[in-house]
Amino acid sequence: MNDDFLRNLRRPPSATFERQLRQRLREQELHETSRRRPNWKLLTIAMLVGGTALATATYLTMDRAPWQRSPATPVTSQEHTATISQPALTARQNSSQWWGSGDDTPETATRSPSAPSTEQTKITSGARADDSSSANASSAGGARAGGAIAVPGSGTNKQPIRIAVTPDIEAIAKATLSRSGSVQSASFEADDANPALRSLCTGSAEHPEIVISSRRITKDELKACNEPWVGGLLEATLGHIAVVITGAQTGSPMELSRDAVLRAVLKRIPSAEDPSRLIANPYTHWSQINGSLEDRRIEIVGPARDTPEFLVFAAALLEPACDKYPSLQALQHTDRKAYEEICFSMREDGVYNEMPLDSMFVRQRLWSDPKVIAIVDYPFYAANSADLLESMLAGAPATRESILNGSYGAARSLYFYVPRWRYERSPRVYLFVKEYLQLQGFPKRALIRPDGHTGGPQSPQPVPLKEVTLN
């Protein structure tokens, strides 16, 4: 037996089969073409009917805008009326600051009648001067009670929602928004959890309206949100993200620290002698990183830099590992771009190989080379655990429970916070939150949710928004 013998075993498919298959493909093509071809007559009728229905629905809902239909109760118990001048309002709307000129609280909103006014606007205590969309809604249907501003002729609201996000989950949060077309009216600011959560309920102009944090708010930080005019803080647990360091079931396990993984995969790493200095990654064997590890060649397969899985890897493992080095942690605050350039740049010398996480990943890549270490996201790991080694990361095993209770070492949580008064009084915030919590922008399979669902287009229910109560 030789190559020729094996090649001679090939034979052409039978003529009957070839003809039948060609026929099947042709029929399939015709079927799909007919499915794609629009029926213009039907389309025109549908458009007419749809247009009429839309017009009717718009007319009916003008009376009660969606945010007014929410079960929310007014934040302040007594509503009082104040006047606000149109020029002052316009000036605030046009301001380049995040939140106009700081007229954010009910108190400041009532403090503007001094400006010369030819056209006076009625405002109730809960409404915000920047909410021109609410103003439009009211102006369309005339001035109404219930917290809306009546601003005849005011422009549409283009102000983005100000979201502070903790740096470790910034990349994934940004990717989420960029994937969701309808929530692009948001402006992200990376901020540490401490200042972001402390300032959330202060209501001043330079502070965020929403915070997405990788940790829960503390009792102390919550105090400001329990002021009567804020009415409490609403929280949604968006979910958890996690990566698993694993390998083919037939391979031999190792116990790796986050630092060992970092030293194995990054293009440049802090020098062992002087961690404030970066060096080109010199390691070729695991035993060089740590003498107690196997003298095995470092071979790693993982997600490509531009994939959602890589963002999870970066947030859940690379960033916490990088932050152990004070010089890198400092860089995170001073030059985030440089920080990412160092901490998220994978080796290009063949040690780290990008592979898509698909059905071929385990069967083809890992089975063929059991010595390869694989970096996969938790949902992929859970789906293929029968063929994979247990998590090689030191500490708690990679299980759903350990991720949900926070004991697993390569996981991050995503908490979403919005003060109640903003949610209930600001239409733009309300609409944004409603849409965002559908998690439509999240990559499929990215989130591990306590209710057992995953985020993404298949997510059946929006994430519930609940009032934070800390004992």
């Binding site: 037996m1 030789n2 190559d3 094996l6 090649r7 075993l9 090939r10 034979r11 052409p12 498919p13 039978s14 089969f17 070839e18 298959l21 060609r22 099947r24 493909l25 399939q28 093509e29 799909e32 397969v301 190989n353 592979m355 059905s359 071929m360 069967r363 083809q364 890549r365 089975w367 063929s368 080379d369």
Partner: protein, 169 residues
């Protein structure tokens, strides 16, 4: 423009060129003619729906076609895989039933029996090489192995097959 571009590709010629390769890959991989036909049809039906994506990259189309074929084969093998330990596979290969005896007459059936002793990865590489008529580079791209590794695997696999072939009566 897309329509015009589509017209530039002679899909009929592509079909004629690729059909025997995919069909033979699946024959080698599955070792059963009728299953190979059915899986080939399934592969082409899937690929044909999205073929216009590759109108400017026929090499890419070929790779994509084989990726689909691999997945189809794996799904088939998984669904029909007997849940026996590896040792039992030896016995499966030497069971004597009239049907098996008839199959044994065919060289492909003999080869199929020998192939079952090879690791899954090696079976895949052999099927891609001699059934799919792919180059080592194309196999490397499909399997994620290095080109030299593919060469080594093929050399070893053919040696083992030859040895088994000579031992069989």
């Amino acid at each position: 423009m897309g329509w015009l571009a589509t017209q530039q590709v002679d899909w009929d010629a592509v079909y004629k060129d690729q059909l025997p390769r995919v069909y033979n890959y699946l024959r080698f991989r599955i070792g059963n003619e009728s299953d190979a036909e059915e899986l080939t049809a399934r592969t082409f039906e899937k690929a044909w729906r999205g073929r216009n994506l590759y109108q400017r990259d026929l090499a890419g189309f070929s790779t994509w076609l084989f990726t689909i074929a691999q997945n189809v084969a794996i799904d088939h093998l998984r669904s029909s895989r007997p849940h026996l330990p590896l040792e039992a596979a030896m016995e499966v290969a030497t069971l004597h039933t009239p049907h098996d005896d008839a199959e044994r007459d065919s060289n492909l059936a003999r080869l199929g029996a020998l192939m079952r002793h090879l690791p899954q990865r090696d079976q895949e590489v052999v099927a891609l090489k001699y059934g799919g008529d792919l180059t080592n580079r194309e196999i490397a791209r499909l399997t994620g192995l290095s080109e030299s590794n593919v060469g080594t695997i093929l050399h070893r696999a053919v040696r083992d097959l030859r040895s088994g072939w000579e031992k069989q009566p």
